[in-house]
Symmetry: C2
Subunit: 299 residues, 2 copies
């Protein structure tokens, strides 16, 4: 089954202690769509400016991503510039130029309104709402977010949560949202905001799924070398939703393995700048790391 | 088989945002010995002053801990006072009164020199050496440490590591010791210091074993409520070594399950002040959490 993904489509200029990379393909929708494409047909909703490099459109197409929902508008593509510290755990934003993103209104091609799986990747909650408003009874809806929206669009986000099946956020966002330092104690409070499934991402420490059947403690794929973690969370969400859309059986039965596939997709993302390594992955390479992770975590 | 445990035997005064608890039973050897006692006969080497409460000796005995190596000296028992912040992740030391610990020289009863399993719990590396010097060819030696010894006794610690089979330390200590921010990349560098097995503890995020056969990513038992993490690492090491000493088969084959048992012992420790909850655990309760953890981490 297909996955519809809405989010940002951006150019990222990323500085690390070891390298500087201007205008990489970035944005939550780009990372998520590339990761999801290894598993299921992907429909991407986003906006780019006239300066958007043709090679990036070619990259989307190489992954079979349907671009009927990608608008091209007069003006510049959303540009983000950031810098990572030596240990890659902290980053600071150097520049945010919204460009055509400032007036973005996601519009779904009519044929996409019945897409069964919907990933509302990280983007303003009002736009996530706007996409859901255009959908007819999707089978499964997941939403990702970021601290920015907790700070400037909390009411919109709180209205969104009862509309989604799965809410994905990281540990510090979870702590901030429900004012609870202990992540395990935060989970029931997050469910009370609406979603049946909650995943708290903990970066290199893996993630925790909370579902009606209890918790799942998911490991992260261990990496000796982290090149650029930008987009890891988006790749996680994309890989997870792509796998879910491709798997037979119930959501509940597939969710654990979907998370591990998302985690492995994120590991490829972290090994290169932008989508450089994710795009080189294959379904077979992902499966191999999933199996390896199974052996690394078994007892 | 028996486990010999050397470490500190202390009185801990622990302040948290919610409670103040003076003169609890504490010290690395106390926590480790109680945790190990659920699995194997324990021989404890330590020192206490004349002020050491009789009820704590009774508690050791209740756990079948052999106290022939516990010296009682004129003076006061080692006393540590500390305060935890609201999220329990940071603590600061309010007082350290060494008392009889200042001149402690661990002496082994002659019959203990053949103990097959040896846990050098957190204590000055020179004392860890002194215990090993008295042993005859132990089957398996594990050493724990803390940042203090990296700062003030690094040469002693570096001389110790080639003498131990398993080195246990936490993530920030690993990063400091081999000057490597990435824990996965730090592991080969830690092996080069001597030990065949290395475990990096990551608190609530579990731990990582590195062995000649590769990595094991171990989960931590998820706790909704953390009362007092003091001694969690000691309980982890004690539970692990107790399990190893009790299990049939090779070290390599038992190490993963030993780590999970240590992790569960640590979870009980965190649920009460001092050893209050660890002492109430049973082998059956530990086994139940190990099985539960297996289900929480399976995919």
């Amino acid at each position: 089954m297909s996955v519809l993904i809405v989010g940002s489509t951006a150019l990222d200029s990323i500085k690390t202690p070891k390298a500087e990379n201007p205008r990489l393909l970035g944005g939550s929708a780009s990372h998520a769509a590339v990761a999801a494409s290894f598993f299921a047909p992907v429909r991407m909703v986003g906006v780019v400016g006239e300066d958007f490099p043709k090679r990036y459109l070619a990259l989307y197409r190489k992954h079979g991503i349907d671009l009927a929902g990608l608008q091209t508008k007069p003006g510049k593509t959303f540009h983000w510039a950031g810098e990572y510290e030596a240990n890659m755990n902290r980053r600071r934003t150097l520049a945010t130029e919204l460009g055509v993103f400032e007036t973005f209104s996601p519009e779904l091609p009519p044929a996409w309104r019945d897409t069964p799986f919907v990933l509302l990747a990280n983007i303003a909650p009002s736009l996530q709402h706007h996409v859901l408003d255009q959908m007819r009874r999707p089978k499964f809806v997941a939403a990702d977010t970021m601290d920015l929206w907790l700070n400037i669009a909390l009411p919109d986000l709180l209205r969104l949560l009862p509309r989604v099946d799965l809410f994905i956020l990281n540990d510090s966002e979870a702590q901030q949202l429900v004012k609870e330092d202990n992540v395990i104690a935060a989970l029931p409070k997050l469910h009370r905001l609406g979603p049946r499934y909650v995943i708290v991402k903990k970066g290199e420490h893996g993630s925790i799924l909370s579902s009606p059947k209890g918790l799942f403690l998911a490991p992260a794929y261990p990496l000796k070398r982290l090149v650029d973690p930008t987009g890891a969370g988006d790749s996680f969400a994309g890989g997870l939703m792509g796998y879910l859309a491709s798997a037979k059986g119930s959501i509940e039965a597939n969710l654990r393995r979907a998370i591990v596939h998302g985690s492995v997709a994120a590991s490829f993302c972290c090994e290169g700048f932008g989508v450089a390594q994710t795009t080189k992955a294959t379904r077979a390479a992902i499966t191999q790391r999933v199996q390896e992770l199974g052996k690394l975590a078994a007892f």
